[in-house]
Amino acid sequence: MTIREALREGLREALAGDPRVLLIGEDVGRYGGSYAVSKGLLEEFGPDRIRDAPLSELAFTGAGIGAALGGLRPIIEIMTVNFSLLALDQLVNTAAALRHMSGGQFSVPLVVRMTTGAGRQLGAQHSHCFDGWYAHVPGLKVLVPATVTDARYMLGAALADPDPVVVLEHAQLYNQSGALTGRPEPAEMWRATVRRPGRDISLIAWGGMLPRTLAAADSLAETGIDAEVIDLRSLRPLDDERLLASVRRARRALVVDEAWRTAGFAAEISARLMEGALYELDAPVARVCGAEVPMPYAAHLENAALPQTADIFRVARELVRGAPA
């Protein structure tokens, strides 16, 4: 099963199981979903519940908030995270703030799905990674599926939550296939997990960076370095406990983040390890991040701007073995 199919199954289950659930977004219906995630759902659930919206990101996101207040369980699809900047005001100033600023009177059970990430030669306006921005906002929660099983069940976890949840789906993962393992405990969806145990270094990743981090761990194994790979899964709340436990064991850590380095989410991980594990660290926590540049179209430049398996491998090996003389 591909991650795309797993996400679609998650949507189908949600729609079939709860008449309050609806999907709103640009081209989710007639077109079949710009990344084909919602393909076929229009036929199954009709145009009211698979609701094509005009090009009005701000309004239909805000309408999702209102619909959630009105008793529905809307899933908003923002075609890509880049366009979500147009809707950010509603997410930050209304969705995230409403409950607290009303003194706890309202819940906003809204799920906002967005395709994120680079790697498809889409250029400077279609390749952003704003994971850290969404993770910055109290009142929001942020889930990032990176495996078929998580893709299949995270939507359910997000919908079960009474508060607004942003789900970031990486464009490069949609075609990945894998085995669907059993339905995880709901609470597990919100916790970091060890994708590969290891003793020498903790490699911390999430979403689109997970596959190449696992690949780097395999390469490291060939040179005798036993790397642990942590998949954060939830960026907000962040699972400090498992994160710190892993790094305290391995005494070295590397964070892989597709986003621009300065003030990206990797900085938060590094800061938390500074605060929670400084005395157990045998080396500085390293960040392997995207280059600080609007994403270029040309493949060789885009590749150079993104964290690659080889980069992760190289930096991890230096952390464990020391820099080459």
């Binding site: 609806l22 009211d48 919206a53 005009p54 009005s56 701000l58 309004a59 239909f60 996101t61 805000g62 309408a63 999702g64 908030i65 209102g66 619909a67 959630a68 207040l69 009105g70 008793g71 529905l72 809307p74 005001d89 509603q90 100033n93 209304t94 409403l98 409950r99 607290h100 600023m101 009303s102 003194g103 706890g104 009177q105 309202f106 819940s107 109290p138 009142g139 929660k141 976890a157 079960a160 939550d161 009474p162 508060d163 709901p186 609470a187 969806m189 919100w190 916790r191 939830s234 709340p237």
Partner: protein, 332 residues
Amino acid sequence: MTLHGLYPVPLPRDECTDLLRQMLRIRRFEEACAQWYGLQKIRGFLHLYIGEEAVATGVIRALADEDAIVATYREHGHALVRGIPANSVMAEMFGKVTGCSRGRGGSMHLFDATRRFYGGNAIVGGGLPLAAGLALADRMQHRARVTACFFGEGAVAEGAFHESMNLAALWKLPVLFCCENNDYAMGTSLERSQSQTDLCARAASYGMPAEAVDGMDVVAVALAARAAVAAVRAGTGPRFLELRTYRFRAHSMFDPELYRDKSEVALWRERGPLHTFSDRLKAQASLTEEDFLAIDAAVTAEIRDAVEFAERSPLEPVEDLLRDVHTPSAVP
């Protein structure tokens, strides 16, 4: 624009008294606010509605309990007319835990879930998408409810206005858009902010029925609102009311009012919604001076009590600061 003001008031006497009393409640409430702001018991931004009372009063009295309201940062009047007790609105102004938002919202963020009062939104235009969504929920769940959405004429320039108007019209959502045209957005007059100053023409361009109403005449507002609410409730799609009004006070307590002449304000004050309405009622003998004084005394007492209540109310314990960032839930 229909001028109802010239005719005998076509409403039963008790309804007229109610409208008058509501407007007076707003007026006295806000006069107290201005005073207590001066005493620094109320802080932050304070936007007074004085002069515009007929708008909230006329529209909101035309709504049913099950209807919803979305308002702006200039929403004390809307909250009061909707029935949020003056005590709890005033306590909110004072930042007390007995306030309608536990003192966390203040003047700009009044909320009341039980009365379907969805704020209190301080982002200009920010309420319109929300209103569309509330109405979508009603429509999809086959509830004949109306969502009244208030915003200033300044908001008409925002992208949020355009997107929401289109969405509501396209999806035939039961929203009553109420544009409070007081001719100024802070210091910027309508003609300096809109190429199209006929706001009904703007609304009509979305294929939405639109009507301009004398917002200084509470009866005109009430009648227009009733008709519009009925049409929206009947499922004919959204409607737009332009309520032509004026704010007598500064935009907020920081505004030096450099942008308009005192004479302009004076002219509009002559059309003040309170005295013109009570004069009319008196002229047609539906109200005596004693009636008026009695109402005013009761309202004044209500507001005095509210201030007292606010003053002696406790603050939210500081340990509760992080409470309700999220809804209590098992996971995560």
